[in-house]
Structures are given as structure tokens and as C-alpha cells.
Symmetry: D2
Subunit: 348 residues, 4 copies
Amino acid sequence: MPIDSLYPKSFASDNHAGTHPDVLAAMARANEGDAPAYGGDRWTREFEDHIKDVFGGAAAGFPVLNGAGANMVGLAGTVGRFDSIICPETAHIATHETGAAERLLGSKLVTVPTEDGKLVPDDIRTRLPVAGVDFEPLPRVVSISQVTELGTCYTPDEIAALADVAHANGMLLHVDGARLANAAAFLKCPLREFTTDAGVDVLSFGGTKNGALAAEAVIVLRPSLTAAIPFLRRQSLQLASKTRFISVQLSTLLTDDLWSRNATHANAMSHRLADGVTDLPGLTIRYPVESNAVFAALPKEAISILQEQFTFHVWDESENVVRWMTAFDTTPEHVDDFIAAIRKVLSP
Amino acid sequence: MPIDSLYPKSFASDNHAGTHPDVLAAMARANEGDAPAYGGDRWTREFEDHIKDVFGGAAAGFPVLNGAGANMVGLAGTVGRFDSIICPETAHIATHETGAAERLLGSKLVTVPTEDGKLVPDDIRTRLPVAGVDFEPLPRVVSISQVTELGTCYTPDEIAALADVAHANGMLLHVDGARLANAAAFLKCPLREFTTDAGVDVLSFGGTKNGALAAEAVIVLRPSLTAAIPFLRRQSLQLASKTRFISVQLSTLLTDDLWSRNATHANAMSHRLADGVTDLPGLTIRYPVESNAVFAALPKEAISILQEQFTFHVWDESENVVRWMTAFDTTPEHVDDFIAAIRKVLSP
Amino acid sequence: MPIDSLYPKSFASDNHAGTHPDVLAAMARANEGDAPAYGGDRWTREFEDHIKDVFGGAAAGFPVLNGAGANMVGLAGTVGRFDSIICPETAHIATHETGAAERLLGSKLVTVPTEDGKLVPDDIRTRLPVAGVDFEPLPRVVSISQVTELGTCYTPDEIAALADVAHANGMLLHVDGARLANAAAFLKCPLREFTTDAGVDVLSFGGTKNGALAAEAVIVLRPSLTAAIPFLRRQSLQLASKTRFISVQLSTLLTDDLWSRNATHANAMSHRLADGVTDLPGLTIRYPVESNAVFAALPKEAISILQEQFTFHVWDESENVVRWMTAFDTTPEHVDDFIAAIRKVLSP
Amino acid sequence: MPIDSLYPKSFASDNHAGTHPDVLAAMARANEGDAPAYGGDRWTREFEDHIKDVFGGAAAGFPVLNGAGANMVGLAGTVGRFDSIICPETAHIATHETGAAERLLGSKLVTVPTEDGKLVPDDIRTRLPVAGVDFEPLPRVVSISQVTELGTCYTPDEIAALADVAHANGMLLHVDGARLANAAAFLKCPLREFTTDAGVDVLSFGGTKNGALAAEAVIVLRPSLTAAIPFLRRQSLQLASKTRFISVQLSTLLTDDLWSRNATHANAMSHRLADGVTDLPGLTIRYPVESNAVFAALPKEAISILQEQFTFHVWDESENVVRWMTAFDTTPEHVDDFIAAIRKVLSP
């Protein structure tokens, strides 16, 4: 992929974007004198307070280095030696982490086919532990992504329903929230409403796709799971020595609703994009546009022509589905240019 | 540990220091527009070129997120399912990574007692694989630290001798170089002389303790080991999505010898410190001061008094040994103030 | 399950049967005086010779303790740290080993839906490694079962075709042969023809379901994989101290074609059973009867009535499919009694 | 090792012996008709009852296939993802299981140097978890061997003292009892007195070295650990399909004190051997003879001459220490012949 092809703006991923200037500025401000390493610093205390403000007083936040790391540390706190994890077939943990779940956790992923990347309670009910069966691992955690990998969102009620089934059967609910901010922006509700209040047990909270440089967090909402996380984070290679620089990124996003402004803007850009092309013949929007991604099927030739000018990924070769993503720094002009190009290619 | 106790300057660890201003500035400059994620960017290409310049054309560099991560990714590329790792008892991988070697690699660490943190060839020779013995794991890698955890350095010849014994017996040599820069500064020789040229196979190259914010690298010097690293890095949770910001830190250190200037300065400060206290009654310097650490035994009461004013770790409670570390930003005034305080406490 | 319900003869599994009297007698004969432990004995030498006779001079046989053990030891010899295993959704390694593949190997199982438990070359071709993709584990081994878990058999040509695709793409072919003898009996060809000669790389060869007390073997057909097996066998808890008693079981089966006689008889009994019920209204044979298993769909009520008199498993609750298995010691009378009962229940 | 060299009787290991005739006879009797697989049979119920009789009503017994397997299954039930195991440097789990503890459990073994293979409470007290330290795994289990690998025994009080320290610090006590019977015979007390009553939490109970063909058991004495064992046993490849043949071996040993008679005899033979040579010049008995092993230092030349006639292992090459073991079927004549040979070699 030629570097120049990313300009004027990549629609390939929200992690093609850089860092929000406020985040960089805060990192520079945190570079004052010495600080205890490994999270013993005051920026990390501030981050922890932010997490309690946002997710409730029982929530405990742990800064980590990347999204797969947040997932593995959080899940490591929930699964034992013979436990399996129920997740959608499209889950990032199942498809994009080079088998870390199997290698690092040693856990079987019980992957569920879905229409839209979302589990429903029956997907759990039909995969419950069976008394007397010891030849299969014991289902112990349900892991969902909010936003899903297909750009869709669970409502708070949908998440609560999954949590209820999980808890009623001795299971926990984990959420991969690499784009949790985008979900809140779409749902127009506090982060807490579809996490803590919905019964989520442990959560990956993403900062990087929301404007951070490299900062994610494991948020533990079930206090009995908290004590293990410091060990698991370090053992899983997710503890920065100069943690202050991770914490301050997250705190900056959580200050004055920067996270929400970034996510709301990114979402608006994907809706603008979808709205601008939805009427085109030969183009079909594949999933409800509920965050900062648009999945569209269009003719293979059109894809090729567009990829000469713009950067984006083909999601499904066999069905000619592409994924277009927007970010906190995607401008209306970027989108309108892209729309114009698409219209030109697809219009008769 | 009260935050204020870190001021004016911590002598507890070189990772209590912040980020070198040139590194921060370069990170800000790298925040221009979009870039491919996961290392497909031009800053990572530049980093890779720097690595070839420094370690030779066959060297391949991979930016990672922290030191334990660099060690685990590099070692994962060398050990199979029933291989053990020979290392000093004091090795970071054996003592400070929460059992990551056992958990993530599944490998037994064969730990060797040493006087000064350094292995000698006979330590390997006496632990060679024994034909017909399948009840022990097969020794496959020798892992040393340069600088060692006791602040000492191997000479290029000493490393070459270890590499020779390892290679002659079907083993590989891994170096944990979290403080590799300090070793080069002490040895007054190019990094390459005691790595590539000495027969090292795979290397963790540390940036964070040398002035980076959070940036380390796995350097593969034996080309047959290279192809596995991208898989291992991602699976081991060590791949940043916005890798450009990791790569640019390392490139900045490798430009205009910033790494060397930082390390040379830090080393000079520890020597200044040692020189300033070595004559004191009741204080014994424990290991040769060969990098940016001073290990000293002194009376328990003196330690207590000093810890009220300065931040540093007790290394060995039972023998009242403390570790004093300097960093790229430790000033002569910091050191002299500390010396004065020590002298005051220990003088009759 | 009441013990008495197993009488007169269980149709639930071929491991409900006891031990063939010749095997027991040979075990008693091997109980003469002392012998070196861990396979250093003459009975194990004899076993190894048998394996070379049957599978070719390059084959190396290793006695192990159970079927899951044979699979895990053999597969451990083929997969590295970031490799995945392609197998049918019905594979024993995927469904009945409590997640051992994920826990002990750390490998992702890429499970393929099939009609009849058998992979075809396109199942591999559509899952080949993709250049540049490091976010998924690397497909490294194809694992099939011969006989499959649905009682079907691959022809030698079908296995050779899978081996060809695997090898052409840098992969290996593993066979779970817990019922390999039954396949040979069905195919009426030497064991070697659909293993060594078909390009199989490593094989689990089952004795227990064929009349042994507890004896399986890992057979390595690709010599470069052999050296690792002693380490892997012991580490995987599959080495008996008094190995002579495992080896002699396998040698007994391999002497005078006892293995073949046992398997041929068991297969004949399942065919007798299928033939005796295939015309019944309301009963459908689900898969081709190609070994010692009959899968049949029949009304739920009929299943309940039959289970009061006979022991067998319901394979698929949702479709009312049962599995009926025969063993080396199932007699025609056992089968005819069972047929009579089925006919009585299902006849109008 | 030439086979013939084992005759007339090996002194190399108690697993060079065959199977006690009563055990073989019972296995043949268990070969009557069908039985449920995987432990659903009546012989396994009998075994479970025997375990409750011997170890108390809260004890739960699980037949497994070998000693390393018993250790790994039992320990897997006690250690979590970041837990370490404290054990003597000589522990079988540390020295003879090809790194299974590290590979299968992922646990660090904290190995303690000892004089005689036995831990003392201070060995635990000096290795307790340290509050706030997350860079080391958390010590969670203490694992001792009874009989130790050096042939010594803990008294019931010594074990109780270890259990007390372990429990007081949130740890569990595991016992590798591959030769538990020999300890009971030496201590002249019931098995229960130094296991259940001493506070042991989980136990490997060995049958194979006591006259079984291949039969060990995991005995869980802390009921909260029981539910996990069926999953762990199967996942760890330690479940026999025809489990009745494992269970019946153990039940036979536990009937009419056969286990005790076998162990008492084996112990008597080692004492006879030690008594017969202890006065010899140049020969030193190394450890107290408290079971069926004699460790002796003698001149290298004497060892060579004796190994031409008798089978035994050199335990420590550097100090010319050999290990002589007796078994349930070692006769006084075997021992006296061996004594005569030793005397001949060593007498002036």
C-alpha cells in the first residue's frame, strides 16, 4: 500500500488516523520530572478516578497497551483451565489476534454464526454446560464486541439480556469495547448504561481508535475479578514502565467529553458517507450503519477503480463487500470527495 | 511511595525518568495525517533502516511495546515445545516478568547462580543436552542480559565465547538488552561489536530506559528466525496499531547518536555517584560499576534515613544492599546532592 | 446408566467391550521378571519392528496410553507456536478432548463443516495461508479421522489427494486412526496403502477399540518428525513406566492379523445390523455404513423404548439420530436380538 | 542397557519389576462382558469406596494412567494462571517430567535446595507472597514427595507443619505419593495419618511402583477441589476409556492390605541391603534408608565393576553416588547375592 494512497484521508481504518492534538499535548505535559513506574504515578490515579466517575464506584481501571492486550488480560481474569469462551464468529478475538486466545489463554472459542455480528440470548442458551459432560470445556464467558466488528451496536437492553442469561448459568459477560465510545455516541446514552448497569463483568475500553496514540484499558466491573488483574497485566506483557504516559491519554479523552465528541463526529461522518451513496444502483449497504463504519457491496470493477484513489479494505472478497471507516479527524470534505468519487464510478 | 519523594530526582530506576524532549518532539512530528497501521508506515521503514545500519544488513528490527514483550517475542522465536532456557538466576525473565516465560512460552528456565549476574561458558557446558535423556527439556537457548541486572557488562569477547559454546551445541544466544545502550557506552564500542559480531542470534533492544516514552525492539540477527516474528509479535500482544509512534521513538534515539549520548551521560552520573561515596566507612560497592547503576551495602539505619529524602530501592533486604540508578536526565547537581546526603549520614 | 443395561451387549461404544483374550494372555506372559522401564524393553523393540513391517521401514512407532494422548503427542510434533490445525467440525480433537488441542497445543482448530465427517481438498484450498497476513495463525496441519466420527472411510485416493494439497502448501497431514483397523477392513487393503503410501505424515493408531486393554500408538511416517516424539510423549503424560505392557498389547494385535480379524468382525456386525433394519418405515440410515457404526434416525418414542432394553447413545437430540456401534466381541446373536427389538418397536 | 543385565534382579528402579500376580488376576476377572467407559463402571465405584475407606469419607479418588499424570492433574486443580509451586530442587515434577509443569500448567516451579529431599516450614515462610509484588507469580501450592526422591520420609507431624504454614498463607499442600505405600510401611501408620489427617489437600497415590501394571490415582482431600478433576483428567490425557482395568488394579492393592505387604517387603529388602554393606570401607550410605532405596557413595571403579553384573543407576556422577532400589518382588536371595558382590569389590 503506497503511503501516498492514504491521502487525502484513509477510509481503511480508524487506526490510520493520528493522535488527537489534545492527547499529544497532555502527554507532553505529563513529561515533567520523575514519576514512579508501573502505574504508581498520579496520572494513573487520575485515570482510575475517571473510570470510577464514568463506570461507577466499584469499577477498577487498568491501563494497557493495545486492544488485543486489553481483551486477553480481561479474559484471562475470567477463564480457568478448562473453560471455553462463547463469541460471535466475527469476534476480533477469534479472527484478528493470531490465535492469542488459544495460545495465551488456552481456551477454546465457541464461535457462533450471526447475521450482524451480535449474539442473542438463545445463542448462549443453546450452548450451556451440560451436566455430566466433561469431554467439552465448560462455557464460562460470553464475549461480545460493542461496537461489533460489523459496525453494529447492541442496545443496553440487548446487553442486559445477554448478561442475565450468562449470569443465570454461572457465566460472565466480557465486552470488547475497542470502539465503545462510538457505541455510546450512537446510542446517545452514558457508557455506564450499557456496561455497568447492563451487567457487564469485564470490559476492554478502547482509546486508540478514539484519538489516543496507544492507550486502552481493562475495566473490571465485578470486584471479585479485580485482584488478579495486576498479575495478569504484567504477565501478559501489557504493563508499560512509564505508565503515566498511557494513563494521561485516557484521562484526556475522558475529560470534557473529548471521547464523546470524537466518537460522535466519527459516527456522523460514516452516516454522511452512507447517506451519500445509499441510492446508488449497484451499491448495497450491508449492515445498519450504527457507528463509524459503512459496509457496502459494490461491483468488483468499481472497487478496483476506487482503490486507485482512496485507501480502504475489501472485507469479503467473495461477495465484493468493502469496509469504509471514518475517524475523529475525518472531515466532511473528505467524505464528500469520497462520495463524489463513488457516485462517479457507479453512476450510469 | 509519596510522589513528592521522587523529587528532586529519583535514584530508584531509569524508568522513573520521563521522555527525552527530542523523542517527544519527533512523536509530535509523526502525527501528520494518516498512516498505515501495524507497521506499514514510513517511520517504521526508517526504523528498520536504522537497525540495518547499526546491526548489519542481515538484521531485522521489530518495534514492540515493552521490555518483557521484547524478551518474550524474541525467545518465542527460538524455543520449541520441550526446550529450556539457560539464564542467570538474576535474569529479568526469571525474576520480574510474573512467570511470563513459563506461562507464555511454556519453557523451563534453567537458572544459574552467578557472582555478578554474568554467565560464563562453563555454565553452559555443564548444562548441555544429554543424549538419550528425554525426561528433561532440551536446553535450546542461552539468555543473558547486557547490561546485567547487577549493572555489570560482558565484554565482546565474553559474549562471543558464550555464543561459540551455544552454537557448538545446537543452542542459540539471546540477549536482553533493555540497557544495551549503556553497555555500549561503557565498553566504548559500537553496538554491533558485542551483538552481531559476537554471534548473538536475537536481541531485545531497549529504548524506554534510554529516553523513549515506550519503545523497545526485537532485533533478529539470525535471518532464519525472522519470518516468525510478525506472527509472534501480534500473538504476544506486542504490536501497536499506530506503530509509527513506536518506530519514531527508536529512530530518534538512533539518530545523531542520541542513544549513545543519553547512555554515556547516565553512566557518567553513576560513576560520579560511586566515586563520591566509595571511601565512606560502612559503605561497600557491591559490583563493578559498569553502567548506570550502583549497588551498595550500607547500614540499615543509614538506608532508612536516606529513604526519607531520596527515592531508591533496597535490592537485598537481608544484606542491606541498595540499588541506585541514574538516567539520561540525572544532573551532576542531583548526584552531588545525593552524595552529600550519603556522606552526612555515614560520616562519623 | 445402570450397569445391567449393558447386558447382554452394549451398542453404545466399541470401548464398552473388554479386552481380547489373546491380548490379556500376552500381557500375562510379558510379566516375566524385570524389564527396563520407559520403553527400553524387548517387547517394545518387537512392537517397533511390527510397525516397520506394517507401515514401512521409515515408520517409527511410539506406544502411548490413550487415543487423545496419541492425537496430542502426534500433533504436538507438527504444530509450532502460531500454527492452526484444519479439521472437520466433527473431529474428536475438536469435540471430545476437553479442549486439549487449545490448552496443551495452544493451537486454533479451524473446523470445517462436512456432510459425512470427511474433508475434501477444497476444504484445504480455501483455507490456505495468505501471504502477508499475520493476524491469523498459520495453517500448518490438516487432521482427519480414519474411520471418521460418523463411521465413514476415506479411500486411499481421497487421503492421497488431501496429502498432496497439504504438502503442496507447506502443511502436514495427521490422521486420527483410533479405528484405523476398521478402515482397513472396510477398504480391504493394507494399512500402509492409505497411510504411508498415501502421504500421511503422522498417525494415531488405535488398539483399545480393536481389542486392547489400553494401548495406542503414535506412528511417525515423516522421519524428520521422529526425534521430538520421546520428549513430547513424556511431557504429554503419555509414557508408561512399565511400557512393556502397552507394547505387548499392540504387538499381539499386529500378530497373525488379529487386528484385522477383530475389525472385520466388528464391521460385519454393523453391516448385519444395518441390513436388518434398513427397510423399516420411520428409520433412516444417516451415513454410509463403512465401519463398525450405524447412525440412524428414528422416532423419539422408539428410541426411548429401545433404550430401556439396550445401551446406546443418542448422537443428535434435535434430529433423533442414534449411534449404534459394534465391537470385536459383538456376536450375530447380539445383533439379531437387537434387530428383533428394533423391528418390533418400529413395525406397524 | 542390555536386557540380560537386568537379571537376576534389577536394582535400578522399582518400575523394572513386573505386575503382582494378584493384580493381573484381578484384571483378568474384570474382563467380563461390557462395562461403561470412562469410569462409569462398577470397578471404579469399588475403587472410589476403597479411597473413602482409606483416606476418609470426604476423599475423592480418580484413577489415572501414570505418575506424572497424577501430579499434573492434581496440581492443575490447584494453580491458577499466575501461581507458582514451591517444591524441593529434587522433586520429580522439577526434574523428571520434561518440563510438564511449565508447559502444561504454565507454572513457575520455585525450587528449594534441601539436604535430604524434604522441605521444612521455613522453606515456605521465606517464600511467601509479598503484598504489592505483582512481578513474581503468586506462590499458591507447596508440593512435596512422600517418599522423597532421595528415599526419605516425612513424619506425620512434619507434613502437618508444612500444611499449617501453607494454609495459614493461603496456599495448598500437594503430595506426590508415587511411593506413598512405602512411606506408610516405614512410618508404620495408616495412609490417612500423614495425608488427610495432616492437612494434605491433594495427593498422587501411586500403584505402579507398588505392584500394579499401570495405575495411579489423584486423591482430592479438599472437597472444593473435586469438581474440576474430571475435566482436568480428560484434558490432561489421563482418562482411560476402559477405566475399569485401571480401577481394579488399585482396588486389588487396597484389598487385604496388599499395598502394605508389598511396600513393607520392598522396604525390608532395602534395609537388608544397606545393613549388609554399611560397614564396608569406601562405601558411605548417603541418606537415611527410610523406604525401598539405598543411596551410596563408593569408588568409581567399584561402580563400574558392579554394573557389569547388576543393573542400577548412578545418581550423581560427580560424587559417585548410586541409587539401589528394591521392589515388591525382590527376594532376600537377590539382595544377598548383590551384597556379596559389593563386598567382594570393596573388601581389601
